[in-house]
Amino acid sequence: MGLKGVEEGWVKGEDVYIDGPVSFLGDVDPDRGTLERGGELLEIDDRIMVFTEGAGSTVGSYVIYNMRLNGVAPRGMIMCKADAIITIGCIVASIPLVHRIGLDDLREIGGSGWAEINSYLGLVRVGAGKKSR
């Protein structure tokens, strides 16, 4: 599998799985570090976000940066396919991002409750330190 690090970094922590594409402009409250999904507010502050892909306006990069400035940025992001908006947002906000993960693997990571990204070694761990690849 071609797991690929976009913004480099080594982080671990609680993860949050988000169903469907994420539009940072619109879905995310950059003051509170929350994301709205189906009428519910999910905490993304200090979590590792696990989701398939992005959507929406290019101003979304600034929303990611706003979260960093407000101290409520996600700790990392794991995606099936990154796009320009999220890639650039993660670079300027220094949020480690890995992508090119298959949907089944993504769901497994998202369901584990805990993840570790080490983009230097090109690996993602899930669960209590269990190595997945």
Binding site: T58, S61, Y62, A84
Partner: protein, 407 residues
């Protein structure tokens, strides 16, 4: 991606942290999009100017580039700001908003960006003059992107708010998409039946945008459309869909230079659409709204000389009814290039002219507007989404009739 020695040096921080960050953004973007290299650009146009859309993140980002010694290395201009930079009080803008907006413009200026705030750099002589057919540029603002690619034959991807700034600083852009010959050939063919009115162009753009989100249309049967009509068509196409280029047979420069047999095999789908069908899809694309409309907004994209002349003729001998407003948006440079009498004529009828901004990026909702009429397919798309303003698309003649009363 292959980098030159100089580019490697910038990426390694050898020419300062601002250029290093900008280079890192471009290299990552290029690798994501499968670019083989970076290519030099001759012009940049930067979106991400209004405080309404960029917020504090935009200010902090610009401060970071500024503190790190950033400077643009190619001629660069700005998209519309959230207010007329001089007459913001007359617009009803909150002073706190005005202060933040002023700070953004000041920071861009310190980076060496020309602070004319416009979405029609292609109609501003000093901006468009240096850009020639086939030139590589990095422009944000989707209507300017599609106009530059289609009408000027220049080459730019739909740049985001940060990537065009990074390109302006480095003077390069990743070589992919619209920069490549083979990615500019038409992929669908759209044949028009009937005579298009100006508003039909907005509807045609919206129809193509919705149904052919990432295609490159070749449009046939258009006759000889006026440039302002194509400006509106492209703006609607790029707002409703992700398009970056269209060809109009016998009109756009690439269609004139291209042998039809070279793209025959590239066409996936052929559609015909009549003016009656376009009128019929209007309700679906832009539903009629309830209630009396008191505010009309025109100039999306910002008004050019042709539109000012047309507006002046249509308003001759008329004045706005009490309680009715027409807000017109244009660029400072364009306005100062117009005949003074022309501008006075439009103002005498009661039209409010604002510069440096537009209805989409200014806080119209905070200015007490809740319903609006517009002649722009792009504005009618964005106003309900970005400012929660119920908006109805209508021809300019109807706007003038509703605002000044029946003849």
């Amino acid at each position: 991606m292959e980098l030159t020695g100089d580019e490697e040096k910038v990426l390694g921080g050898g020419s300062g942290p601002a250029r290093e960050l900008a280079m890192r953004i471009l290299v990552n973007l290029g690798e994501l999009e499968g670019a083989d290299s970076l290519i030099p650009i001759v012009s940049a146009h930067i979106s991400g100017v209004s405080y309404k859309t960029g917020g504090e993140g935009l200010i902090k980002m610009l401060e970071r580039f500024h503190d790190d010694g950033g400077k643009v290395s190619v001629p660069s201009s700005l998209n519309p700001a959230g207010m007329d930079l001089d007459r913001w009080e007359g617009m009803g803008i909150d002073p706190a908003f005005a202060e933040k907006q002023g700070r953004i413009i000041e920071l861009y200026s310190s980076l060496g960006v020309q602070t004319t705030c416009t979405c029609i750099p292609y109609e501003i002589f000093s901006r468009v003059h240096p850009v020639g057919f086939g030139d590589h540029i990095a422009w944000g603002e989707s209507n300017a992107v599609i106009y530059a690619n289609s009408m000027l034959g220049a080459r730019t991807n739909r740049e985001g708010a940060i990537s065009c700034l990074a390109s302006a600083i480095v003077g390069r852009t990743p070589n992919y998409g619209m920069h490549l010959d083979e990615r500019r050939l038409p992929t669908i063919e759209v044949t028009i039946e009937g005579e298009l009115t100006p508003l039909h162009h907005d509807l045609l753009g919206a129809y193509i945008g919705v149904n052919f989100n990432s295609e490159i249309p070749l449009i046939r049967g258009m006759g000889s459309p006026e440039r302002p009509e194509l400006k509106h068509m492209g703006a609607a196409m790029a707002a409703k869909g992700g398009l970056a280029l269209y060809h109009v047979e016998g009109v756009t420069p690439e269609s004139k230079r291209c042998d039809p047999s070279s793209f025959e095999n590239n066409i996936k789908e052929r559609v015909e659409i009549s003016t009656e069908e376009l009128s019929a899809v209007k309700e679906e694309l832009y539903p009629t709204i309830d209630g009396e409309i008191d505010t009309f907004v025109i100039g999306c994209p910002q008004l050019g000389e042709f539109e000012f002349r047309r507006l002046n003729r249509a308003l001759e001998g008329k004045a706005l009814l009490p309680g009715k407003r027409i807000l017109a948006f244009t660029s400072r440079d364009l306005l100062s290039s117009l005949d003074v009498e022309l501008v006075r004529g439009v103002e005498r009828a009661g039209v409010e002219i604002y510069r440096d901004t537009c209805m989409v990026v200014s806080p119209l909702d905070m200015m007490g507007v809740s319903r609006a009429g517009t002649d722009s397919g792009k504005a009618a798309h964005y106003l309900p989404r970005m400012s929660r303003i119920s908006t109805e698309l209508m021809p300019i003649e109807m706007i003038i009739e509703k605002a000044t009363g029946p003849r």
